[in-house]
């Protein structure tokens, strides 16, 4: 079982310095702009910056598209202060007691990401080193357009990143890998699973002509009728797509940003049961949420889960661990851990 035990960040995104210890299931909570998604993004890079997560989507694409503003697609945001003062960011992962470092290095016109596996160096040494030649180059790309210049397939963890923005990519991925997905019986299993949530008796998910020479992904009902997945509620689509993509790609780590979005308590309960199965099966799950309801449902369902409150004070990441009972106790004291 490959798990990240600890992640250390230096000059990464809005974080000057920070460290988070991760459990088999970790729920990150806290006010807006305190680095919750940044931690997921730092973990995402462990997948291999240019290795596809799903069709047409690599960590590089995710990082670029999540932050794209007007025509700026660049990845300067990976470095604190957009590289104006600090030219290097470091992400240190402790995995099975071994240390791996990713160094994000800013040059005048390009950014490169290098990997040191089994690193023995101190963070300070890495920050001060002038040249980085011996370390494996994972990727280099142009600063302002994120155009790839060179890349390798270095990776040390298989990761899946789930956020509602990527659902269309998951559909394309399902279309491309349809034979394998059907062969693994993921479509039937997922259809039966989702029937517990919606008032429809589904037996399968299919790809069929939708008229006019176009194809659609459909939920196939036992009475023979069909509903396009895109016509289902957002939460239902999210559950179906994530269940299939996780089932097929078999990642070591599942990152889920804003897990509560589109989920009503019944959907959250089902999701919590599924996450519990994943953790039991050796997967690591890291979630962000703004919902105490989601936090409590998931943390109560999944054994070995940890809730971490994040706070960012002048770039320093502060963390505090809570159990679900402590969260409830604070609520009864009139304190909302998220604010």
């Amino acid at each position: 079982m490959t798990k990240i035990e600890k992640i250390y960040l230096r000059y990464f995104r809005g974080i000057i310095k920070g460290e988070v210890e991760l459990a088999p299931l970790t729920i990150l909570v806290g006010p807006n702009n305190t680095g919750k998604t940044s931690i997921l993004e730092a973990i995402l890079l462990a997948h291999g910056v240019t290795n596809p997560l799903v069709t047409n989507l690599t960590p590089l694409d995710v990082l670029s598209s999540l932050h794209e503003t007007l025509s700026s697609k660049g990845l300067d945001h990976l470095i604190y202060g957009y590289g104006s003062k600090h030219k290097r960011a470091i992400i240190r992962y402790t995995i099975n007691s071994k240390t791996h470092d990713l160094i994000i290095n800013v040059k005048p016109l390009e950014i490169e990401i290098r990997l040191i596996a089994n690193s023995k160096q101190t963070i300070e040494d890495l920050m001060l080193r002038k040249t980085l030649e011996g370390e494996a180059l994972m990727v280099s790309f142009t600063r302002f357009t994120a155009e790839k210049l060179s890349s390798s397939r270095h990776s040390f963890l298989k990761v899946m990143f789930i956020k509602d923005e990527i659902i269309k990519n998951i559909y394309k991925y399902m279309y491309n890998k349809w034979i394998e997905i059907v062969g693994k019986k993921l479509t039937k299993k997922t259809a039966n699973w989702i029937s517990n949530l919606i008032n429809l008796d589904a037996s399968d998910i299919t790809i069929e002509p939708f008229g006019g020479g176009v194809y659609a992904l459909l939920l196939y009902l036992k009475d023979g009728s069909r509903i396009r997945l895109g016509d289902l509620g957002d939460g239902v689509q999210m559950l179906i797509a994530s269940r299939i993509v996780v089932g097929d790609t078999n990642p070591d780590i599942i990152l889920w940003d804003d897990v509560e979005s589109h989920m009503n308590p019944r959907a959250l309960t089902m999701l919590a049961d599924w996450l519990s199965e994943l953790v039991k099966g050796g997967k690591q799950v890291i979630l962000t949420t703004h919902s105490l309801e989601a936090t409590k449902i998931i943390a109560k369902t999944v054994p070995n889960s940890t809730i971490i409150k994040l706070n960012l004070e002048n770039g320093i990441l502060l963390t505090k661990k809570y159990s679900v009972d402590e969260i409830s106790e604070l609520e009864e004291m009139g304190l909302d851990v998220r604010v």
Binding site: E329, E331, E332, M333, G334, L335, D336, V339
Partner: protein, 228 residues
Amino acid sequence: MKIFFTQPSHRLSIDGRQILKRLDFRNWKETYSNKPSRRNLIIIANGSPDHIAIIILLHLLNHREVVDMAFPKHKHLAIIDYIPKYMEEDYENIILIIDQETLKITEIHNHIKNKLNPNQYEENKDLNNRLAKAIITHGNRKATLYITINGIEDKRFTKHTIEDHLLKLAEKKGLIKIKEKTDPKETWKNLGKEKQEKILKAIKESEIYEIFPQQVEAIIISHIDILI
């Protein structure tokens, strides 16, 4: 002081954010903060309308310092057990607003002393012991707790709550006549919304130290301690 509600979605927080505007207080927006203090805390141990009275006082006292305001589910003396937990959340300057109810004031102080075992405990005799300052420790944490007991020395009330102060003000303004054996909570409730708002608005033109002496003193001295 500026107020940050520690549970923004709590019904009293939502109500509290609207109350100054509803009562036509000037510059009402300036009394609310969107950033927590995480150091200064007011615990409203008996819910409503205590929160309204305290918000108005904080507005009129107009300090710049932020204070967080919590509405615990554990009411009245039950909250005392949780004071160390607030300290674990980094609060070190805590004002507790609590009703006297039908207890003797000494019973409240003794309960707090027994539960929290304070290093120092000073009762303010000028305020009929309705305000006390306690220095408490929990592990390596230290906090100052201001115990503010709502109620006034008026034998017509069958128990003592924040409504004592509001009804006394109403009587002074000629809006009501307090009878013998008045239950302040019931009487306040029966006044109706319109009359209640009239009384709350009247706080603006009143000598707040005369109406709410222990609450005003607690806010002022805790603020001085913050600055020190």
